[in-house]
């Protein structure tokens, strides 16, 4: 078999690093966790449907009889002084991904996370660099211990066998000579084969417990009962079928650098170099199907002082002209001092951007033009915060019914009900209001020193306070009226209170907006 002879290794850490209490992921080298679970038995939990389940237990808790998959209520009942924390699957996965990247950079070119709790390393032809397989494993364990993980390591001829031995074997380091996969696996429980829970249940019904129980079975019926996947993973573990590892690829920041023969000082020269850098960067981006969301231009001066220009784009882009224009707009912010000798353009934030077909424009169909570039340019001039779009919020309280959104955000629709063209920022009190209770519009009122006689009115539109926001709005009610004054103006006025129950408001009248 082609894959035989390749050496796969799976490392598992039965008890993963605890996230620190403040919730921030540990930066740089991972925090040692030994102290986190030294004093009290600790478990991690997760909700699954209606119940909470233990997803991991610290060595102390394991010793006290707590197990993975146990109901949390059960665990709490067993041990009074239990430290219960929420499992952070995403955080765990991120750490595992970083570990895989670390492996690719330091140990072997082919590595990837395996499931939620392990790593595959294809160490074929790599271990001799570390003094052999045993040495390598010991070194790996030391490294993991230093950064706060306990782990078990197995090296075998197939990924499936390594997976099973690392998780269900009894040694911290298991080295399996090539070709012995089938014997080594025979005594392990079926769960070691990465079967689906359904297949495991079915197998338990047939009384199949060990991997070895499956060897003598006819393949046809086996596939029918447990599913084709089960047969496949059995074959993969024994090395009858290949199982390639899809390695993680470390991501390199796209960047372009120009060292300059002569230090440059003029805007024209800088612009020239920017043009070259952008062209280089865009070539790189195009080959990797990426678009820029943020750019950083670093100009290193003769005196060693860096000048940095950073800018963002509102949409992923690798348009040479656009990026060049955006950078050129900011040239004046560069202080060349005695001259610039190196310029580096990097894209710290990128997004996938695939090539797009040009829309058919035969029929003169313009389509909606893309305003993203305009947004970037305006943003470059007035600042990002100065650009926004108004969108509605699902609230009946007028002050809360709109908010600012990003210039490219999808705006929500506007309410079907008539709203004034202009809303006062703060409602203004009305004076000398004459109105009938409980639900009639005012007959006359005074506002900003002028008195108005109302000739027509509509309402009330009853807006209850949003009691879940603050307690003052618990019972509050506003009754809004549209009124037309004798002089033709139309106003949006409201009264605090529904005119019947005192707690709903003090019956004071306010001006809140004007219709066009």
């Amino acid at each position: 078999m082609r894959e035989m002879g390749r050496r796969s290794e799976a490392a598992e850490h039965p008890f993963r690093a605890m996230a620190p209490d403040d919730g921030a992921p540990p930066a740089g080298p991972w925090n040692p966790v030994a102290k986190a679970c030294a004093s009290r038995p600790t478990i991690l939990i997760e909700r699954s449907g209606q119940r909470e389940v233990v997803t991991a237990a610290c060595p102390l808790a394991l010793e006290l009889g707590l197990r993975r998959g146990m109901a949390v209520a059960h665990a709490r009942a067993l041990i009074a002084d239990l430290d219960v924390q929420d499992a952070d699957r995403e955080g765990d996965q991120a750490i595992l991904d970083r570990l895989a990247l670390h492996a690719v950079r330091h140990w072997t070119p082919i590595a990837c996370p395996s499931g939620t709790d392990g790593l595959w390393l294809d160490v074929t032809g790599a271990t001799h660099l570390f003094g052999g397989e045993a040495q390598f494993c010991a070194r790996l364990l030391r490294f993991l211990k230093r950064i706060g993980f306990s782990a078990t390591i197995a090296i075998a001829g197939t990924p499936g066998a390594a997976h099973a031995l690392a998780r269900y074997g009894d040694k911290a380091i298991a080295l399996l000579p090539g070709g012995c996969e089938a014997q080594a696996l025979a005594e392990l429980p079926l769960a070691s084969l990465r079967l689906t829970p359904h297949a495991l249940q079915t197998a338990a019904r047939f009384g199949l417990e060990r991997v070895g129980d499956l060897y003598p079975m006819a393949r046809g019926p086996l596939a029918k009962r447990l599913g084709l996947d089960a047969v496949q993973s059995l074959d993969q573990a024994r090395g009858l079928v290949s199982e390639p590892i899809e390695p993680v690829v470390p991501f390199e920041l796209p960047s372009a650098t120009r060292g300059l023969l002569e230090p440059i000082l003029t805007a024209e020269a800088i612009e020239q170099v920017i043009g070259d850098l952008v062209a280089d960067l865009v070539d790189d981006l195009r080959s990797r199907a990426l678009g820029v969301r943020a750019l950083a231009l670093t100009c290193l001066r003769v005196d060693g002082e860096p000048q940095i220009i950073a800018l963002g784009t509102s949409k992923a882009s690798r348009d040479v002209n656009h990026l060049r224009r955006m950078l050129s707009m900011r040239i004046e912010r560069i202080d060349p001092g005695l001259g610039i000798e190196t310029m580096t353009l990097a894209a710290p934030r990128t997004e996938l951007l695939h090539s797009e077909a040009f829309a058919a424009t035969l029929a003169g169909d313009q389509g909606g033009s893309d305003i993203a570039q305009l947004v970037d340019q305006l943003g470059g001039r007035v600042g990002e915060a100065g650009l926004f779009k108004m969108t509605s919020v699902e609230s009946d309280v007028p002050e809360r019914a709109v908010r600012r959104a990003g210039p490219l955000a999808e705006a929500q629709g506007w309410p079907a009900w008539p709203r004034p063209a202009r809303l006062l920022e703060r409602p203004e009190a009305l004076s000398n209001v004459v109105a009938l209770l409980p639900d009639h519009p005012p007959r006359r009122f005074g506002w900003r020193g002028k008195s108005y006689r109302v000739v027509a009115g509509d309402g009330p539109e009853r807006v209850p306070g949003e009691w879940w926001r603050n307690s003052r709005e618990m019972w509050a009610v506003r009754d809004y009226f549209r009124v037309e004054a004798e002089t033709g103006e139309r106003f949006w006025v409201f009264r605090r209170g529904d005119g019947v129950d005192a707690p709903t408001g003090d019956l004071s009248w306010h001006m809140h907006g004007m219709f066009g």
């Binding site: 639900d439 009330p460 879940w468």
Partner: protein
Amino acid sequence: MATYVELQVMSHFSFLRGASSPEELFAAAALMGHSALGLADWSSVAGVVRGWEGQKATGCRMIAGARVDLADGRTLLLYPTDRAAWSRLTRLLSLGKGRGGKGRCILEWSDVLAWGEGLIAILVPDLPNAGLEGHLEDLKAGFGQRGFLALSFRRRPDEIVRLHRLDAMARAAGVRPVATGDVLFHVAERRQLQDVVTAIREKTTIDALGFRRERFGDRCLKSPEEMERRFAAFPDAIEASADIARQCRFDLGEIQYQYPFEEVMAGRTAQQALTALTEDAAARHFAGDVPSNYRAQIAHELGLIDRLGYAPYFLTVNAIVAESRRRGILCQGRGSAANSCVCFLLGITSIDPIKHELLFERFVSGERKEPPDIDVDFEHERREEIIQWIYETYGRDRSALTAVVTRYRTRGAVAEVGKALGAAA
């Protein structure tokens, strides 16, 4: 005396829609001087029993009905005028729920027409538009004088204009408008609870609920005088509500148990059949010589059963037990039925109540105004056979596995409200 009758009320039996119990609604209505209250829960009549209790406690008459939201988007309040119409209404709801499955009710306009005889239909409109015109024509064609259009104040902009347009459209179509309050709770203080149950229904938190909340204002019960003041421009709509109340004379008290006809009756009354069966069984049990204390007890029990009219019920249980014996399926009566000598002799229970000195009145008594329940356990493995036999014998649409109204207990309620308010679980 006020004439207005409130006809659009949802109690908390409209699960996660209404926010007050029928008892609270009727107590509030009686205090405000309502003479009657129309209870129309969402796709259900589950609240009418509590409503009836409310009627008996307060004297405010309950008009039992239901609200149905049809598949094509129109909403109707249906009120039966008599007992036969009530049966048709419940049939209609069974049909919709059978189609919709749990928590849903799927009905078409044609279904409402098919079961609509004797029902008063009140169309609940949204906006006066062309769609409504068609619905009004349907209503006029299908229900004639029994079709109405609901007018209610939503406390939204242009409300008066909307109501006048609706009124005009209804009159043009020959449909009489009727004023309603669209009530969801009995006092204004329940508004918050209503928001919370809506959030639970929408499976979200109160903050994220947005426009899925009930957006029309003023959903509490108002006094008849207040409603008449509001609808001063529509005096006929107020009058119409009283007319509907007058036509709906159906009272829950008219409903009686309808026992199935059993084959053993064969020309005899149920009581005669039960007496004969019991005497045969007694003769067999004691080999012809029935002791006098047994004879007296049997006579006493049969007398009470006769007086309360429960004989057909005993026959039905007997038929089911006899069938399961015939098939060799184990079955065993349990609970208070063991206090009955009749049940013992018929083989429904296997404890001799006289030997163990059990009191028959704990099973059936003249004081308790409801039939006794006879619990029978069947062999778990073969229970399905008996269920199928019951379906075949009595008809699939006349037998039911227990029907349960969903409700919260304290623990669940606290958990759900906590979730709706955004508290961590």
